[in-house]
Symmetry: C2
Subunit: 315 residues, 2 copies
């Protein structure tokens, strides 16, 4: 029997990442195309169809050997593949799975990008070997994707796993991007970490290498590794908010493992020690033994998860 | 074709409730037997088998017309029906579904009682018509059961939906029964409401009918209905904790509806107004439209959900 293939597509605001996989999950070819957002994003799906068709031709793949295409999109997506507003891309309500399926004549599945990335990390990344995982993405914001029994938990309106907006602080005067006050994202994102750092640098007299460098998630954790006392105190505050927030997530979905990704996770294993310490403090005992791991797929989590999405469907 | 049947069993610490249902979900007969906890609860499952066999005989039901038996048990239960310690009943680790199946020779499914009750409320109670629901039980403690796409979300160790132990207060000096401080259950259970009431009665000078009566969840909400100002302030504090906690749950699982049950819910619709007010304040906008309803099955939610559990399996 000929090798069978599938495609994983991760639609971002600037580029669309694509991957050709065999059904065992080995990536055979990776490439990118620009995301054309003109005219309410009407070219995005046709562009993806064309890009995939071209690779099918170039690689001389028989279309009968293509199990399908999975896609992740930056917005709420229901089980039928209907996107409900992707502001970033100009999309209103439309069924992107059906649109691509009509163009390519192969099965297409779609999901929210954060959820799809979580599926990727479960399949081939930091959550490999587990099927109840929570992916926590610490970037400009705090994103999340939840996998229950091997399947994406999308929520009734595609808003499951919005863990960046868990309320963790009653005494906050500044607003989160969402309009609320005291969201996890205000403390545990890269931006939030810098905010905590600047506040502590201002309120404390202690000397620190951070006083003579740009304050970023990277410089803070570099300073932690160098033993800088104030940097450690900053990381403790950051870890307490995140550990407390994930303890709440555990009360709700009781995962086997939390997989931590996004830019902040480049700090490495040391990051996990600050999160786990406070997670164990706040969590309900039945979830105390949850594991913590770093994400390993980086920007490829989306294409892996998208491929897995369609493979699951293909059976 | 003869009418087909199933049984729903709700195992409690004092009594086991049983129900005979037809497959449309009409309850045909309800009864109870005592829960015999002697000798590590080894008689409980045989007693259930005997009770069911007796009713099958009495009602002249052909065993071929029994689709199966569903059971809810007060502890973590995995998908295979394995209980992992029910301290209340004396059980260690054992497969109660298989044990009953071997005795009755019909399919048996088992789940955690709170989760099974949530399934019952979805099927025939306050959550009817929805398939993404969170049941919140406000009794001595705060319990929860989460249904995603019509199925119980049990969590990896059967500890999903433990929403009573969501951390909602950083400034708490007293410990929750679980050992942590600041759990939702410390404020939003019947006990927690009384604790809030007693604190406010002590710290405030305001007159109140509650100063001349026993303080219980019932007397507090009766006073609220009578327009007692202090009682309203107590209900506001209670509602803020619960609304904040459920907003967090919504960030994680994004349900269509919260169904509120347990003793405190006897207060009626007025209870929901205090919860919803603060829920809408704290929740992420994508989950703002979630509905709130009262549970309607009372103590029967368990037998209904247990019946549904086995009907789902029977297909």
């Amino acid at each position: 029997m000929a090798e069978r293939y599938c495609f994983g597509v991760d639609i971002g605001g600037t580029t669309v990442k694509l991957g050709l996989f065999n059904t065992a999950g080995d990536v055979k070819y990776k490439w990118e195309i620009p995301t054309r957002k003109d005219e309410d994003g009407k070219f995005i799906i046709p562009d993806i169809a064309e890009a995939i068709s071209k690779v099918i031709d170039e690689k001389k793949i028989d279309i009968k050997d293509v199990a399908g295409v999975g896609m992740g999109a930056p917005g709420p997506v229901d089980k039928q593949g209907v996107v409900n507003r992707c502001v970033n891309l100009g999309w209103g309500i439309k069924n992107i799975a059906k649109e691509l399926e009509d163009l390519l004549k192969v099965p297409v599945k779609a999901g929210n990008d954060a959820n799809v990335a979580a599926l990727g990390e479960m399949w081939k990344g930091g959550g490999k070997g587990y099927d109840n995982i929570v992916l926590v993405t610490l970037g400009t914001g705090v994103g999340g994707g939840i996998i229950i029994d091997g399947e994406i938990m999308a929520g009734s309106a595609g808003a499951g796993g919005e863990i960046g907006h868990i309320h963790v602080e009653d005494d906050e005067s500044e607003s989160c991007g969402c309009g609320n006050k005291g969201c996890l994202e205000q403390y545990a994102s890269a931006t939030g970490l810098v905010r905590i750092a600047n506040k502590q640098l201002k309120s404390k007299d202690k000397d620190s290498v951070l006083r003579n460098s740009e304050v970023t998630a990277k410089t803070v954790f570099d300073a932690v590794k160098a033993g800088d006392e104030l940097a450690v105190e900053i990381a403790e505050e950051f870890g307490e908010y995140l550990g407390k927030g994930l303890a709440v997530v555990a009360c709700v979905v009781n995962p086997e493992i939390f997989v931590i990704g996004g830019g902040v996770s480049k700090a490495g294993e040391i990051l996990l020690t600050f999160i786990e310490k406070y997670y164990r403090k706040y969590v309900f005992h039945a979830s105390r033994e949850a594991l913590f791991a770093l994400a390993t797929l980086g920007n490829d989590a989306g294409i892996y998860g998208a491929a897995k999405l369609v493979l699951d469907e293909a059976g």
